[in-house]
Subunit: 265 residues, 2 copies
């Protein structure tokens, strides 16, 4: 049995901690899943991408250490000081996994059934993560994220997906033009979700195969991206609010798609 990692300034600990920086993630081809929920979901849904699980012995990590062992994943016990050095989260975490990227090709992402979600120019990690979580909950086929958006391997995005990052196919690294071309090849209608749209969500036929296109949290979709879509759809505002935030609008749109396309028993 290997000794407990106890030196917070060791090279190994520094290398894990460095994965909070985008440049280090790109160089290493790895990122971090911090905390029990993220570690559980990556071990359940993508164990082949997990390079190592670091943990502090205790009640909150025991089940995950066992799960990792079942999946043939290397685990290593650490002191709380070492794990605190490895993690960025505000609250001390009992476990962190070093994992490899989740992104699949556009073709693989589009292979399934159901509606698709496209994110472009989304910059806030919490918003991006919340939309991925919502896409998972609302049964989207996949999420396609254009190269102008936040890095989804940023620890804040990972945390705010609460494990959804590993629940549905996600593609990153293509331009919005490439994503639109692939969606068109797949026979999808492009529906821009934007407060400037004249067509209301309840008036939109969502039984047609479609992709929702969602833009930046502050300034919406760029005009040229909006113009490249087939329809521009607005969530109705019934009161005096000027708008909904991105995550709320996206959730309403995605649940409307789910309601139109899911068969209920």
């Amino acid at each position: 049995m290997e000794p407990v990692l106890s030196n917070p300034t060791s090279d190994r600990v520094k290398k894990v901690r460095a994965l909070h920086r985008r440049s280090s993630r790109e160089r290493a081809g790895q990122f971090l899943a911090e905390g029990p929920q993220s570690v559980r979901e990556v071990l359940r849904f993508a164990p082949g991408t997990v390079d190592a699980v670091y943990y502090v012995r205790g009640e909150r990590s025991a089940e995950l250490v066992e799960l990792a062992a079942q999946r043939g994943v290397t685990t290593r016990e650490c002191t709380p000081e070492v794990l605190a050095q490895m993690c960025e989260a505000q609250h001390p975490q009992p476990v962190v996994a070093v994992v490899r990227p989740v992104s699949v090709s556009l073709d693989e992402a589009l292979a399934g059934d159901g509606y698709v979600v496209v994110l472009t120019n989304v910059r806030d990690p919490g918003n991006a993560g919340t939309v991925i979580r919502g896409a998972d909950a609302a049964g989207a086929r996949c999420v396609l994220i254009s190269d102008s958006s936040v890095d989804i391997e940023n620890p804040k995005v990972v945390r705010s997906t609460v494990g959804s990052l590993w629940h549905l196919p996600i593609h990153t690294g293509s331009s919005i033009e490439e994503i639109f071309a692939a969606c068109r090849d797949a026979g999808l209608l492009l529906l821009a979700a934007d407060g400037v749209g004249e067509q209301l969500l309840p008036d939109t036929d969502l039984t047609r195969p479609h992709a929702w296109v969602m833009g930046n949290e502050a300034w919406g979709l760029e005009p040229e991206v909006r113009d490249a879509c087939d329809e521009v759809v607005r969530v109705p505002i019934y009161g005096h609010a000027e708008s909904l935030n991105l995550a709320m609008a996206a959730t309403v749109c995605m649940y409307a798609s789910a309601a139109a396309t899911q068969t209920t028993d």
Copy 2:
């Protein structure tokens, strides 16, 4: 014309700044609307509650100073240093208003038409504010907030409502039992929104007059509160996500109510 306020340590500036603390708000019977969006909405929808508007001369405040003058509200120019002292927001704001409470009585709040939103034990300011914004957007009759919840005059709540705090009737200060009694007197069905519910949202008849009851962001509704409701309703999860966050689940429920009760042209 009064001189520009330029002393960041004056008693007046300290009194405004003190309104970031709940105890000072309660003693003074005042709270803060920070930033152009909040100040604009309180001047438009509840000018009679505004005691004073403090501003830094410039493009972002000019229109609001004019609006305040039209509404007979006292304005006072400040140096940027003074306004920075008064505000809590991370980014420098050009304007802040000192305002009196928005809460109306239960009877007044329930006087209108449409579905009602009840919040109990909601503790996170951002979540509470986002649900109020969503209730406004989705056309709720009012929002009733039980006395175990976050103080809605907390600057973080105010900011995250983006002005919706003044767009629909809001009641605070009653216990959940008093709120439920008033809803029953108003002929409303109590629908608990909770992930443990066996009844799915799409299977729920929302044409009946009803109130949505939403609980704490982390642990949902307390069992005794849930048991006091008529039906426990769950937003369906189509993918592998364990849950939706409070604001997302609330938004989906409220838009379902809007779709069922709004007449479309």
